[in-house]
């Protein structure tokens, strides 16, 4: 009974316009599937940023935001020496933290990926690396104080052992303390992407390098580092973005002696100068995006991805 309509439908589908219709349906389905994530991004990322951009061009006085277009916020921000000193200082923290987390993260990943051979042990040791995250950020930082303070554990121990005769002053409320806390917070974010890249390195490549006469440092430099680049780039983006936006760590660990961009914004907000904070946020956003663009360009994360796609295709052939 239904054979005729079904056959007709099939014939219609097989015809060229029908096929195009199916293609459109497929495309619509793909968009539909991507929609939930797109909505999340739209609501929680795009709208807030648009709102910040809009507010950054608003005027304000000591009690309220005045919705009137002005460039004054940016003029004040960009022409102030304090702004650029603060940015410089924040970049300095970011650079130091980046260098130290890279060194520690790379070494830890290398050890986990190439010297630990059992999967169980690897999982166990990775979990150990997450221990700092079992308490809140604030508690983690506060717990440095009794350790690093003038009469803290470290100074006491060193004094007792006779290694020093005066308590070390630079340990707490200093740049050293800030970087120490930032490294403590962020090493994990550097380590995991690098570990990921390293686990993808085919072990026979290491053997092939050794077969070709490469010694351990040569293998590291010529094989392991180039093939971990993507992980290093991703880890660097995490660390730099996190450090550039930080304000709690800098305030607490420097004892209020160091400024950071985040701190500057927090101060503006506490003074109800939302438009000024917004303008600052936009400036920070652009600078960090510029940095990330630089990293992405130098490592070519996309090239690496398309490379693996090409490899998969070649394997299919």
């Amino acid at each position: 009974m239904s054979t005729v309509p079904v056959a007709a439908e099939r014939a219609a589908l097989a015809a060229a316009p029908g096929a195009r219709g199916r293609l459109n349906v497929a495309r619509a389905a793909a968009h539909f599937q991507a929609a939930p994530m797109a909505m999340v991004f739209l609501c929680f990322l795009v709208f807030p940023i648009v709102a910040i951009v809009v507010v950054s061009f608003f005027d304000y006085d000591s009690v309220q935001i005045i919705p009137r277009f002005t460039l004054e916020n940016y003029r004040e921000l960009l022409l102030s020496k304090v702004t650029w000193e603060t940015y410089l200082n924040t970049f300095r923290f970011a650079a130091m933290t980046w260098a130290v987390t890279l060194l520690i993260g790379f070494t830890l990943s290398y050890f986990l990926a190439f010297h630990v051979h059992s999967t169980l042990m690897r999982i166990g040791l990775s979990l150990v690396c997450t221990v700092p995250f079992w308490t809140s950020n604030i508690i983690r930082m506060i717990s440095w104080i009794p350790f690093l303070g003038r009469n803290g554990l470290l100074n006491m121990a060193l004094l007792r052992l006779g290694i020093i005769h005066q308590p070390l002053e630079f340990l707490l409320f200093s740049d050293f303390a800030v970087v120490l806390a930032l490294v403590h917070l962020n090493t994990f974010f550097m380590m995991i992407p690098i570990f990921n890249s390293m686990m993808k390195i085919d072990r026979s490549l290491i053997e092939a390098a050794r077969d070709a006469g490469a010694r351990a440092p040569q293998i590291l430099w010529n094989v392991v580092i180039p093939l971990s680049k993507t992980g290093i780039a991703v880890g660097s983006i995490f660390v730099i973005a996190l450090v550039m936006g930080d304000f709690v760590t800098v305030r607490l660990m420097s004892g209020g002696q160091s400024a950071s961009v985040g701190l500057m914004m927090a101060n503006s907000i506490s003074l109800l100068q939302y438009p000024a904070a917004a303008a600052n946020a936009i400036l920070l956003l652009f600078l960090v995006l510029g940095l990330i663009a630089g990293i992405v360009r130098s490592v070519d994360i996309r090239g690496e991805l398309t490379g693996s796609i090409a490899r998969a295709r070649a394997a299919d052939e």
Partner: protein, 332 residues
Amino acid sequence: MSARYDVELIAVTKRYGATVAVDDIDLRIPQRSYCCLLGPSGCGKTTTLRVIAGHETVTSGDILITDQNITNSPPAQRGTAMMFQNYALFPHLNCIDNVAFGLKMRGVRKAARYAQAREFLELTQMTAYAERLPSQLSGGQQQRIALARALVTKPKILLLDEPLSALDPFLRGRMREELKRLQNELGITFIHVTHSQEEAMALADLVVVMEGGRIQQADAPRYVFDQPKTAFVARFLGGHNLMPRDDATELAVRTDRCRLFAIDDVVQPSLPGAVSAIEYQGTRVQVTLDTDLGIRLVSHLPDEVFYGHPFQIGDRARLSWSRSDAHPVIAN
């Protein structure tokens, strides 16, 4: 004075914990020979190769390369180079840098190492692909690059780990010819691990059949096929009927030397049975006989012989061979 053997293994044993991968083997590979290590997976052939390469340490025994004991030397100081099963090309380096890698590690300057690498790209007919990344090459091309990379350091021994297993049958045939040509041209020893008896037969001057970490037989392909020493070798190479005997030996007869006769013909030696399968294979016909002893024997008959006196499935028949074609082999 030139060495007697390119490679000598003396009582080499490799154990992983309780399992013995290579069990007390002795092997001598003459100069400039093409040697195939042949056997099923897990027979110890790859471990043997890796032990020679220096990627595994021996548990006991010695390895000599051109009369020098290199048992404990690092891979690069043995005069060996290895071509890996999955080629192991460096994905971040283009072809010429892949080929020049060994020279770079030895501190050869850029111009010199590129010149030498180009020579080997030419040898493997890959000059046109010098600037490509490995991911932009087909499997066969990747293999040529891997070959060039292994040869660039001018090894005395080239070690190949299942080099043809990833290629399609057509390419496999061509690469096989090419490997043989290269070995001839370079005049060095190739040690080639394979599980394909056809490959080993086609390439090798010396076939080493391995099983259970031991060498079953090491001979020229002709002798390995014609005069297997053990039942395993006869079974693994195929083309043999095996008949149990009273002692610890079996009788091996090549299937193409076995003839079928009518059940009442008086021929000696022979075994009676029923034809259970007939397969036409072009140049020959394969007839399977379920003998009254309970063993299954096969006769490969030239097609004109079979069609001269055809048999049907279920027919009673007698399988016979000449005494001079029967070899006692060690049962295992």
